[in-house]
């Protein structure tokens, strides 16, 4: 009996000291956009390799999940590939969270079809009509006589919301759209399905060796019906916003960033982080986004 008591006491002592030691290494929780999750994961790993004291954990779940997480204080940094809705900002302020936004990369949201599809380009109104379900056969667009098979994301995805706002003209998606779990699943489906059209972040188009995945065709997109069409792989077109579905990828934090979070954000948006952004297939941030970041650091 005495031995049991002493063992129990020792266990309590060991546990106690372990608990006291834990807060020395605070884990920074990053949550949100599935389009950004791979990129941010790699950024975090590289950062932790350079700063042994830092601990970052990156989770996906969709932009909506990240935004909700920051509002409910279950994460420190929210990844989001769409802007916050006014409702979300109001909700955040109510809970004492004052979001500040940082652009860490730029994405050329890519409209992809199966490699067997003869189309090379589409206009923005055409993409919108496809996803609203107004065009149900590829022959309407000068393609083969094949039913259109729509692939998209689920409503918790920032990409879903971005497409709805900027391409569908704030109209409903076709209910025939298959709603997939993530970018990778859309790509795999489009490679297999000859009638497919899908939308994914530009960073997901590449395989491990940095080549475009085979079986895919990335469409050139023009803003106006008679305008010139640009590819999301064309950095200059994305930078100058000639590619019409380019968008910033954000991270949001509550209040003025400080400590490790501020250091990480500065590193990501600095030359080293941006080099990784480019290596992963996304685009580096230009002057106006840099200015926005500077403002929000202060």
């Amino acid at each position: 009996m005495k031995r049991m008591i002493s063992v129990a006491l020792m266990t309590v002592a060991v546990l106690g000291s372990a608990l006291r030691a834990a807060p020395a290494r605070k884990m920074i929780q990053i949550k949100g956009s599935d389009t950004m999750v791979n990129l941010v994961q790699i950024l975090a790993e590289e950062y932790m390799a350079q700063n042994p004291g830092a601990a970052l954990a990156v989770l996906g779940g969709g932009s909506g999940t990240g935004v909700t997480g920051l509002i409910n204080k279950t994460c420190d940094i929210a990844d989001h590939s769409r802007e916050w809705k006014q409702k979300e900002i109001d909700q955040a302020w109510e809970k004492g969270v004052t979001p500040r936004f940082f652009v860490i990369a730029v994405d050329g949201l890519s409209i992809i079809v199966n490699a067997k599809n003869p189309l090379e380009k589409l206009t923005m109104p055409q993409v919108g009509a496809l996803y609203r379900g107004e065009i149900k056969n590829w022959k309407v667009l000068g393609g083969p006589d094949k039913p259109v098979s729509l692939y998209g994301r689920q409503s918790n995805s920032g990409t879903y919301v971005f497409m709805q706002e900027h391409v569908l003209g704030n109209k409903n998606y076709s209910t025939d759209m298959k709603e997939m779990n993530g970018n990778a699943q859309i790509i795999e489906s489009v490679i297999q399905d000859e009638g497919a059209v899908g939308y994914v972040g530009v960073g997901y188009l590449y395989d491990k060796d940095g080549k475009i995945r085979s079986g895919l065709k990335i469409l050139n997109i023009s803003k106006e019906p008679n305008g010139e069409a640009y590819s999301p792989l064309d950095k200059a077109a994305v930078d100058t916003k000639k590619y019409p579905v380019a968008r910033p990828l954000y991270q949001a934090v509550s209040g003025k960033p400080s400590g490790e979070i501020a250091k990480f954000l500065a590193w990501e948006t600095g030359p080293e982080g941006q080099k990784i952004v480019e290596r992963e297939g996304f685009y580096t941030i230009g002057g106006d986004y840099k200015a926005l970041n500077e403002k929000n650091f202060k």
Binding site: T68, S149, N170, N172, Y173, T175, E179, E188, D193
Partner: protein, 297 residues
């Protein structure tokens, strides 16, 4: 004297423990139902019940007008479940009959644990098989663009409900009094005739209960169908259409829905409908099983 008192105390403590475990299970069920009901009811302040159950379009995040009709999802759920049963029931009863009446005992000793192990495969793994194996196969067989449809979901759910159907059906076949089979054979019936006309009818209520429990499993399954059926919100017109089940919809949307909004309450209302559906199925299975056990006595 001291020892006896201790034994009595132990006895009553053990009894209290088991009693409270039983009560706890009931309390948890009541608690879940109450929470579900409490959170679901506000939804019907803004959505008329008839619209909720009978409208086909579900689009709660629509920028035009939020729509809360779950008919397509109810039909999708039933389609996938019925499809799964259509595949799993004949195979399941066949395997059960083989195990109880035909197989050599050594074969049975090998197959039975394997069937039971099938029940332990995580649903994500089954869903993964649906994406990489069954989906492309279905697309090829039916010459369609993709295999993300109700048929894929049915096949996967059939695989997941097979262990339940097989093991309970086999138990009920084994519980048929041996005299029935012996009498049939003595009258000159073949083994096949004995199995089909005597033993399976005698075990029928147990087999039906097995199928209903398998059905309960199929209705409530989430991850597998979420991964393999494509989740399109439109009303399905056939097994080759992409479908979104009620479980998949709740799983997709609950993570990001703003709390205490109509959409939030509506998701709980879907959960409530689902709960009632599985509850009815399970009660049905229980009643049938009960009848069967009574007859055995």
């Amino acid at each position: 004297m001291h020892k006896i008192r201790l034994a009595r105390f132990k006895e009553s403590a053990i009894r209290a423990f088991f009693f409270s475990s039983g009560v706890l299970a009931v309390l948890i069920l009541i608690g879940i139902f109450a929470t579900l009901l409490y959170t679901a009811i506000p939804a019907f302040k803004e959505i008329p019940l008839s619209e909720f159950l009978l409208k086909k379009t579900w689009d709660p995040t629509s920028p035009e007008k939020a729509q809360y009709g779950i008919l397509s999802m109810i039909v999708s759920t039933l389609m996938v479940t019925v499809g799964a049963l259509a595949l799993a029931v004949p195979i399941g009863i066949g395997v059960a009959a083989y195990l109880s009446d035909v197989a050599h005992w050594r074969v049975r000793e090998i197959i039975k644990p394997i069937v039971e192990m099938l029940a332990g495969i995580p649903s994500v793994v089954v869903g993964f098989l649906g994406i990489v194996l069954f989906g492309p196969a279905i697309a090829k067989i039916f010459r369609i663009g993709n295999g993300l449809n109700a048929l894929n979901g049915s096949v996967l759910l059939a695989i997941m409900s097979l262990p339940t159907i097989i093991s309970i059906s086999e138990d009920s076949l084994n519980a048929v009094p041996p005299a029935y089979g012996e009498a049939s054979l003595a009258l000159g019936a073949s083994r096949w005739q004995t199995l089909i006309r005597v033993r399976i009818p005698a075990a029928l209520s147990g087999i039906i209960a097995a199928c209903m429990l398998g059905m309960g499993r199929a209705i409530g399954e989430t991850m597998t169908v979420l991964m393999a059926t494509g989740n399109a919100r439109s009303f399905p017109h056939g097994f080759l259409d992409s479908v979104r089940t009620m479980t998949a919809d709740v799983a997709i949307e609950l993570g990001e829905v703003p709390y205490y909004t109509t959409h939030y309450y509506a998701l709980f209302a879907i959960g409530l409908v689902l709960f009632i559906m599985t509850f009815v199925v399970n009660i049905g299975a229980d009643l049938i099983l009960h009848k069967y056990q009574e007859r055995e006595l």
